[in-house]
């Protein structure tokens, strides 16, 4: 065979393969999805960071004393996930070795260019600073008590500030509260910005929507609280400790109300789309009822939202009729469902937004590969990695002897 024919035959073979997976007409360049599962994982992880931080801020800023047992765990969860948040983005880039250009030559009109700054601000000015103020006293104590590498680590982390006078501790507490107050809008900024990345794409009617950042923020809060609900129970189980019932009830309460707001905002989004009925609505309706049926209507809406809403609603409406163990089981199971639902939501936004053509005339198909840069193995690895990091952080900073259900923190008086 003439070697010159090879690329043409390959192209013809590929054309045939694509033709079988395409419905209607899509622009030729749109046939293969560009953003794959890694971009699904990225907003998921970032949302968990923001949500976990909001959970922690309930103790500091809103003085919800019952949640004190999970304050430190929530902060460490935010840190563990924040450390891993840039990885999916980095792996997805065509040229990861040039990624630093986003930081040193940012194009200021691009929302994506703000990632480095928002991330750095949140990491350095909010989370690490807050953790440092929160932990400084313990770090000094541990640096004396512990030997070896662990002791050295604690000593380094005190940053040389070993003053434990009442005035210094009071200052720690005050600073911690101020940082948390700054941290709440920062956490909203962190995830609102991720929503803005999608919401600012006017080319794509599924994404380009002013409500998108708001939807992302509330889904983030819901997912973060849900994650804390799951982690707290698992941690107690792992350490053979009793779950603090009042704390868990409060977590369940906040989970319910956050989910309610999230559901309302997303419902408003759909209501607006259906009522405004712009030219894209026909293709979006087909998308929701067709290629996204399972992930949008079954997993995100029914299993991830309505079912937990009803179950958690019951714990709020008739708590006295449900025994404590049953309520706790409802919180835990609802949280697991919510976590799956929010992951499905990220999938529906990222993948769903690329399944239809910008010509609004057809659909393409997405097949998730096993291995490779955009394979599901890597995606699963990137979802598991923050839990491993969190495990290390908990081992270092939430030692069993301080009891998972107790903390030295005293919430500042409101």
């Amino acid at each position: 065979m003439d070697p010159a024919l090879t690329p043409i035959l390959e192209a013809a073979g590929e054309a045939h393969q694509l033709a079988t997976s395409i419905e209607g007409y899509v622009y030729p360049n749109e046939q293969n999805l560009l953003w794959s599962v890694l971009i699904v994982v990225y907003p998921y992880i970032t949302g968990l960071v923001a949500g976990a931080f909001i959970m922690a801020s309930l103790v500091r800023v809103f003085n919800v004393k019952a949640l004190t047992p999970v304050y430190r765990m929530a902060l460490l969860t935010a840190l563990g996930f924040l450390i891993c948040a840039p990885l999916p983005l980095l792996f997805h880039l065509g040229h990861p070795e040039r990624s630093y250009q986003v930081m040193i030559t940012p194009h200021v009109s691009s929302p994506m260019a703000m990632f480095g700054f928002v991330y750095a601000w949140y990491m350095m000015a909010v989370l690490l600073l807050e953790l440092w103020c929160e932990y400084r006293r313990d770090l000094v104590v541990w640096s004396v008590r512990e030997r070896g590498l662990k002791g050295l680590l604690y000593r380094v982390l005190t940053l040389g500030v070993r003053d434990l006078s009442p005035a210094a501790l009071h200052l720690d507490e005050r600073m911690s509260k101020i940082i948390t107050v700054i941290g709440i809008p920062s956490a909203f900024l962190l995830h609102g910005y991720v929503g803005f990345i999608f919401g600012s794409i006017k080319a794509n009617p599924w994404w380009g929507n002013v409500l998108m950042p708001v939807i992302f923020i509330f889904s983030a809060v819901v997912s973060g609280i849900a994650l804390c609900v799951v982690l707290y129970k698992e941690l107690c189980w792992f350490r053979r400790k009793v779950v603090d019932a009042a704390c868990y009830d409060d977590m369940g309460k906040f989970l319910f109300y956050a989910l309610l707001v999230d559901f309302t905002v997303e419902g408003l989004d759909w209501l607006h789309r259906l009522y405004a009925a712009e030219e894209s609505i026909f293709v979006l309706k087909q998308l929701a009822g067709g290629r996204l049926f399972n992930t949008l209507l079954v997993i995100q809406l029914c299993l991830g939202t309505l079912l937990p809403l009803v179950a958690l609603g019951a714990t709020q409406m008739v708590p006295e009729k449900l025994p404590v163990w049953f309520r706790q089981r409802i919180y835990y199971n609802s949280a697991v469902l919510i976590l799956a639902g929010v992951l499905a939501m990220r999938w529906n936004v990222v993948i769903g937004g690329q399944l239809f053509s910008k010509s609004l005339r057809g659909f393409t198909t997405f097949k998730l590969g096993l291995a490779g840069q955009e394979g599901w193995l890597l995606a699963v690895g990137l979802i598991v990695l923050p839990f491993i990091v969190l495990g290390v952080l908990i081992w270092l900073f939430l030692p069993d002897d301080t009891k998972a259900t107790e903390t030295v923190t005293t919430p500042a008086a409101g």
């Binding site: 013809a12 880039l93 065509g94 990861p96 940012p106 691009s110 040389g160 006017k202 080319a203």
Partner: protein
């Protein structure tokens, strides 16, 4: 000696470090802007982009769907062979007659672009007597005045040249694909070999040397008309085109203000 670091000093040092980091982008961005003006495009030395304003016009009625433009573009610009990468492509629209006694003046609209129209189109499977209208529409980068791709690029690798071309610096592109998502016209793709975003550059290496883009050069029906607004020639084809035709742009509601103008376009074209 007991070395004590006060919190004030500690925080001061941290703030200083953050300030230094924050000042870096400004310095580097200025440097990059200068570099971009001087390099990063395939233009020859001496070419002044401020002295030109390129424009492309498409006369839909003149396109015969031969696909030579697509082939020329692929060859000229080393566009990957596969059928999902095109800097330019041709779409075929077939508008069927409405059902007898129905409420519509036109029937179903069928659009296709097999292999981007490269090599022409096979006869349609729709019987001739069922077709109301049929036409071809060449597509390419719309040279938006307010280009959403350049706006979205996080590092400025995609940029608006003063001469109207929207270019990509492949040595600077990080391959995030944000510009591809931001393009409403589907004109961009990720080159699987270079892992950078790619699009029609108006054959920048040709037009900056006084030649026409490859697609314009080979078009047998003169459906693609190319010119320089700042340097009109005698009987300038662009001026004539805008004088003789009512012109349209694609997706005007998005506010991108495309500079690729279409004549005799149908409302079905998006």
């Amino acid at each position: 000696m007991n070395f004590v670091i006060s919190r004030r000093r500690m925080l001061g040092a941290l703030a200083g470090a953050l300030g230094w980091i924050a000042s870096q982008p400004v310095a580097k961005a200025s440097k990059a802007t200068v570099q971009k003006l001087l390099a990063g495009s395939p233009a020859p030395k001496g070419y002044d982009p401020t002295q030109h304003k390129w424009l492309m016009c498409i006369d839909v009625d003149r396109c015969i769907g031969c696909g030579l433009c697509v082939d020329a573009c692929k060859t000229e610009n080393h566009v990957p062979e596969a059928s999902s990468f095109f800097r330019t492509w041709v779409e075929r629209y077939i508008i069927k007659k409405p059902a007898d006694g129905g409420n519509d003046v036109r029937g179903e609209v069928l659009v296709d672009s097999p292999n981007g129209g490269r090599g022409g189109f096979q006869p349609s499977l729709v019987p001739r007597e069922e077709i109301l209208r049929s036409f071809f529409v060449p597509k390419l980068c719309n040279l938006c005045e307010h280009s959403p791709c350049a706006q979205a690029c996080p590092v400025g690798a995609t940029f608006d040249s003063p001469d109207g071309a929207v270019l990509v610096d492949p040595t600077y592109c990080i391959g995030c694909g944000f510009c591809i998502q931001a393009c409403p016209y589907g004109c961009r793709f990720m080159n699987p070999h270079t892992k950078t975003a790619e699009k029609c550059s108006l054959c920048y290496h040709r037009i900056t040397r006084g030649l026409k883009p490859a697609c314009v050069e080979v078009c047998p029906g003169h459906a693609r008309i190319f010119g320089d607004l700042k340097n009109p020639v005698e009987n300038d084809p662009i001026q004539e085109f805008v004088r003789k035709n009512k012109v349209f742009t694609l997706k005007p509601h998005l506010g991108t203000d495309p500079r690729v103008l279409y004549a005799n376009m149908d409302k079905e074209v998006r």
